[in-house]
């Protein structure tokens, strides 16, 4: 858990959340999450029917990997809110870096909360996720 006297607005935490994303990891995510949309594992379908150059990652895989950065930063079980927008697709071979920035620290109903802005970018600097989170602080 973040400690109130150790953090300040503007603090940044970042982490590489995946390097050279493998198709197999996308299949792992399909199996664990139960989302078997062929767009994420079926190249033939994705090219010939959906019209994309090939399979791509579940948005929720990118959100899950970004969430790993977040819990590494704020601790387990401290999140009050976590939300994202998926701004670009994530493809096999992508390497992603995710950043959390503390934008506010406030008191609410007797709790201290950190407001966090989130951004995940690919190797070309394109943003694939923007989001925000609220975490309890001790």
């Amino acid at each position: 858990m973040l400690k109130k006297n150790e953090i300040k607005v503007g603090d940044i935490y970042s982490e590489k959340i995946v390097e050279d994303l493998k198709r197999t990891q996308i299949v792992q995510y399909a199996g664990a999450s139960g989302d078997y949309n062929p767009l994420h594992s079926d190249d033939k379908f994705t090219k010939e029917i959906a019209g994309y150059p090939g399979v791509f990652a579940h948005g929720m895989l990118s959100m899950g990997m970004t969430g790993k950065m977040l819990t590494n930063f704020v601790g387990d079980g401290t999140l009050k809110k976590y939300g994202v927008r998926f701004t670009n697709q994530v493809w096999p071979g992508d390497s992603l870096e995710s950043t959390a920035t503390i934008i506010d620290i406030k008191e609410e109903n007797g709790e201290t909360l950190a407001e966090i802005a989130i951004e995940t970018k690919n190797q070309d600097g394109a943003t694939v996720i923007t989001g925000s989170a609220t975490a309890k602080v001790s």
């Binding site: 959340i17 995946v18 990891q25 792992q28 995510y29 199996g31 664990a32 999450s33 139960g34 989302d35 078997y36 949309n37 062929p38 767009l39 594992s41 079926d42 033939k44 379908f45 994705t46 090219k47 010939e48 029917i49 959906a50 019209g51 994309y52 150059p53 579940h58 948005g59 929720m60 895989l61 959100m63 899950g64 990997m65 969430g67 790993k68 977040l70 819990t71 590494n72 387990d76 079980g77 999140l79 009050k80 809110k81 976590y82 939300g83 994202v84 927008r85 998926f86 670009n88 697709q89």
Partner: protein
């Protein structure tokens, strides 16, 4: 009312953590009661929805992914069948955590439709957005997570 009834299990959390590359030892080693599920783990409640449309059904022959042909959809006509389903993309996802999601919880879900709206996009034509709000409760009826999902159906594949 959805038919989801999801027992939160340690081995499922482990598999989920592996799939997102999360090395937090709590997901692999420690005692059940110490584990709070990863923040997006509730999404895997899809495994426990008997009607989830993105899972091939046992004995079903209309799965839209490829087999011999590029799509297994047998219905003809507009041609939008499988492609139409596949054009749905995830636009936004938001979670509000009311209580920690823990091993041993049995989660049920109530889904409510939310807003819907349209937008023009240079990269994908007309975009139709629709929102759904899901309340996940534990075996005691306590609200654990509220999830808001925004899906988008694009007019054409997103240009990259």
């Amino acid at each position: 009312m959805s038919k989801i009834k999801m027992p939160v299990e340690k081995s499922h959390i482990m598999m989920f953590a592996r799939s997102i590359g999360d090395a937090n030892p709590k997901y692999y080693e420690e005692k059940d009661e110490e584990v709070v599920a990863p923040p997006t783990f509730i999404q895997s409640s899809a495994q426990f929805d008997p009607e989830y449309f993105l899972r091939p059904k046992i004995g079903g022959d209309n799965w839209f992914g490829s087999g011999k042909d590029a799509t297994g959809m047998k219905s003809s006509g507009s041609g939008s069948g499988g492609g139409g389903a596949a054009m749905g993309l995830h636009a936004e996802q938001h979670y509000e955590y009311h209580q920690p999601l823990k091993v041993g919880d049995v989660i049920s879900a109530t889904v409510k439709p939310g807003k819907s709206w349209e937008k023009e996009s240079k990269r994908a034509g007309k975009l139709k957005f629709s929102e759904s709000v899901t309340e996940y409760r534990n075996q005691d009826g306590e609200l654990i997570i509220t999830a808001t999902s925004v899906g988008v159906v694009t007019e054409k594949p997103v240009e990259n």
